[in-house]
Symmetry: C2
DNA sequence: GACAATGTGTTGCCTAAGCAACTTTTAACT
DNA sequence: AGTTAAAAGTTGCTTAGGCAACACATTGTC
């Protein structure tokens, strides 16, 4: 039951997600109760459970959606893992993490972990899907492609996260200059003469 | 059917009114269809009719609510028709008319008439209810009080509307200086030495 | 004036949402 | 440890909202 096409369902889910995002901006994740969410969304508490298992599932979906909406067309449609695409992914990841940590109170350990995992997974998936479009020649079998994607995603994510502790957080060109050569060399795709 | 207490009903009515106010800001009243409203409110067209007879009834309610929310506490609780209260009513009426004509496209004759009538009626009612609280001594019987209220409301409204065509629309002190003495004298309540 | 196209209301059937009244966790206090 | 309170989930029944399909009015255009 609960037909995902029903306009009432779409509206209710929008209301819940909007309420949640709003609450995250002024309360810690752990401090937010289902009752809070239901109240702000002007829905019944029981209705919440018809749509989400719990607030973790909600967080998962909100995170996914936010990241997804952030992906530029260029990256989503990319058929080849070029320098430009690589740069975009690095910047997007960095921007996303920054946004999240700035607008939400990441007081909750559980939340930070969940969000991190989610983003990493999406990043990885995005990269893998570009690799699989096949224009870029890497290892032959899907297995090695998966591993390459995993490494690339993890590297980008790790670097972006690490950059949070750097003095010049906003000097993203510094980040890009470090990560791109590393990744592209690792993949054996580096072109520019340097290094 | 349709219990006005049901949270779904409250929410739906809010959505409809918000959608309508929004549409009024960019479309003429006549150009707005029920379909437009339903779409923007993310409800079904049939649901609209469960709450409002037509868009005229909706306009009526939106107008009433907007005017009502504009009434200062001081005026709502007034037990006597003083100079200050009189001034407040004049300014409020002027402000309301100005707002309405500025934010909405008053292209429709029917709409302008309806809104005008509505505001006048509410203004009149507000004044009457102050008179009836009785601290102000006017004629004895309710009948004459009603007439006094009607005259006062009409005078204030007429003046405020007329002021729209004056060069210095925003010089509201000019408006007040003309209307207050007129009304207070008419009611036999004027105190200040002047005139 | 015939025609299509679009908006207005209405109706019956189905589904999502609200509610009350539970049980079960979880957490805080003493 | 024992008590209490608040939050988390669950369930059966009721009601508002969505939809399709209708009849009817309005408009424009050929």
């Amino acid at each position: 039951m609960v037909n995902q096409e029903d306009p009432r369902v779409l509206r209710t889910r929008q209301l819940i997600k909007a309420a949640f995002r709003d609450l995250l901006r002024r309360k810690g994740f752990d401090a937010i109760t289902i009752k809070d969410i239901a109240q702000k969304a002007t829905i019944n508490r029981a209705t919440f459970y018809a749509h989400f298992e719990d607030k973790y599932a909600l967080l998962d979906e909100v995170t996914e959606q936010a990241f997804h909406e952030m992906i530029p067309e260029q990256v989503a449609n990319a058929r080849e893992f070029t320098d430009e695409i690589c740069d975009q992914l690095i910047l997007q990841t960095h921007r996303y993490i920054l946004d999240f940590y700035q607008t939400c109170r990441m007081d909750s350990k559980s939340m930070a972990t969940l969000v991190d995992e989610k983003i990493k997974k999406m990043l990885l998936h995005t990269i893998e899907s570009i690799f699989l479009k096949g224009a870029t020649h890497l290892g032959v079998n899907r297995h090695s492609i998966k591993v390459m994607a995993a490494m690339t995603g993890s590297a980008i994510y790790g670097a972006a996260q690490c950059w949070l502790n750097v003095e010049e957080i906003d000097r993203t060109d510094g980040l890009v200059d470090i990560v791109r050569p590393y990744v592209m060399n690792g993949l054996g795709l580096y072109r520019d003469g340097d290094k």
